[in-house]
């Protein structure tokens, strides 16, 4: 039986496998893949110069003695990321319709959607966890005196983030539209209304009218979904930039000891 000759496929010239250089070791597929990865990273870096910033961020030194208390900030950010992702997926099923669609859609998420109650639960309890972490992170900063020079501005940004987080939980809990949501919102809006002079107009603005109406829920939804998360994201960016620029604080009690050690060494 004559051997069948398969015609060579018409591969364009640059893609044809190059003959191995004499003497060069045979390249394994894994190495080739690693090489390709490095090439892609190089290509991007050549055009963006991002690696410098990344190195500045990731390989900066963290002072001696940092402990588990220093993970609270990143844990808060992580909780926010979890909230953002679960929130986006909840929004795929949610309908901000005060006539009954909102409650119905949340009931649908809970009862019918695959993993619905689980994701809804993650978002709901994630908010509690995030609030706790924000407070713990703030307590750590306060007790370690980490808000002092040169980190004053970072404290101010942090307080703004705390307020936004509370605003987030407040606007969030109207959305399921059960009894608790409704009355908490009524009370919350009226609390804003007790501000002298501007209060009545502020509560009109929040409600989108003189009474709780068709647009109130969509207002809260827009604020919860876009306005505040956008602001939180931007402020987290600024917060992180300042942390990286000014450095993580050292635990306050470490300062004196280390300095003494140094003096002894010098002597």
């Amino acid at each position: 039986m004559p051997k069948l000759k398969v015609p060579a496929p018409p591969i364009p010239e640059p893609l044809k496998p190059r003959p191995r250089r004499p003497g060069a070791p045979k390249q394994k597929p894994l190495d080739a893949a690693a090489d390709a990865g490095a090439h892609v990273v190089d290509w991007v870096d050549e055009r963006t110069s991002l690696s410098g910033g990344l190195r500045w961020m990731m390989f900066r030194k963290v002072p001696k003695g940092t402990n588990w208390f220093y993970t609270l900030g990143s844990a808060t950010m992580f909780a926010f990321l979890s909230q953002a992702v679960t929130g986006v997926f909840l929004a795929m099923y949610y309908r901000p319709d005060a006539a009954g669609g909102a409650y119905e859609s949340v009931r649908h998420i809970n009862d019918d959607v695959f993993l619905g109650e689980f994701v809804h639960g993650m978002h709901k309890w994630g908010s509690s966890v995030m609030v706790i972490l924000v407070f713990l992170h703030m307590a750590r900063t306060f007790f370690f005196g980490a808000y002092k020079y040169p980190r004053e501005l970072n404290w101010v940004i942090g307080v703004a983030l705390l307020i936004l987080t509370m605003a987030m939980s407040f606007t969030g809990y109207l959305l399921p539209f059960d009894q608790r949501s409704y009355w908490a919102t009524i009370v919350g809006v009226n609390i804003n209304g007790t501000g002298p002079l501007v209060g009545p107009y502020l509560s009109d603005f929040l409600r989108g009218g003189a009474e709780f109406g068709a647009t109130t829920l969509s207002r809260f939804y827009a604020i919860h979904m876009m306005l505040i998360p956008g602001a939180i994201g931007a402020l987290i960016g600024a917060h992180l930039y300042l942390v990286a620029k000014l450095g993580t604080t050292a635990p306050p009690w470490l300062k004196a000891e280390t300095a003494e050690e140094l003096r002894e060494e010098r002597a």
């Binding site: 961020m57 900066r60 844990a75 020079y149």
Partner: protein, 258 residues
Amino acid sequence: MNRQQKEQYLREYSTLKAQGKPFFPYAVAKDGAMACVVMLAIILMSIILGAELGPKADPTTTTYTPRPEWYFFFLFELLRVIKPPELVPLATIGVPTIAMILLFLLPFYDRGPERRPERRPVAMIAGIFTIAAMGYLTYLGASAGSPTTIEAPTPARIAALPADQRQMYEQGKQVVAQSGCLACHKIGENGNDGPGPHLTDIASRLPAQGIERTLINPTAPMPSFKKLQPEQPETFRAMVMFLGELKGDEEGGGSEGG
């Protein structure tokens, strides 16, 4: 902090930093472990506690008792404890705004160079006091019952009575709760502190006949239950019986107060 102190801090900090370890992978590994703990907590809570949906929003209700999410309990309790109507704007807008301003400006009025907690007594006391106050308010807010239910254990003395008497006591408890007495009176851990007197131990101060007389012929602004007596004598007697058993001895233990 003056310039010299600032420079000294920066110098010491740079020494400490130079002795430290790179952020990646040392700190990042810790952060990652913490992130795993956080996610574990969220997932466990989601699986165990679920995402319960309450009854549908109903603006026409007159029986629902609104309560906020737990992290607003301190604010809720603040609104409950500040009673005089003139001070309402203080509770709603005033105190939270002042607290926020104080928090924002913290680095600008606390400018001392000292960072060690044990050498900042004023800041530490203020901080711990704030946390304790918020914790206490949260606890009070969480344990605030509805003004139309009384949560208190039935005393052993009553439990020993025959069944019809016991039933009368329970009925009286319900009537007292739903008549709105708790709006002005306190019974054990339930109800408001004033303007009416505490009823926790009313029976030891006033005999049953006295209680009956007060219910029919009260001093203003307490409402009269005069109409109740001829119309629903059973209910009225149950009410008098329940109040007549409030001797304050059992509630004193306070172990199970709602």
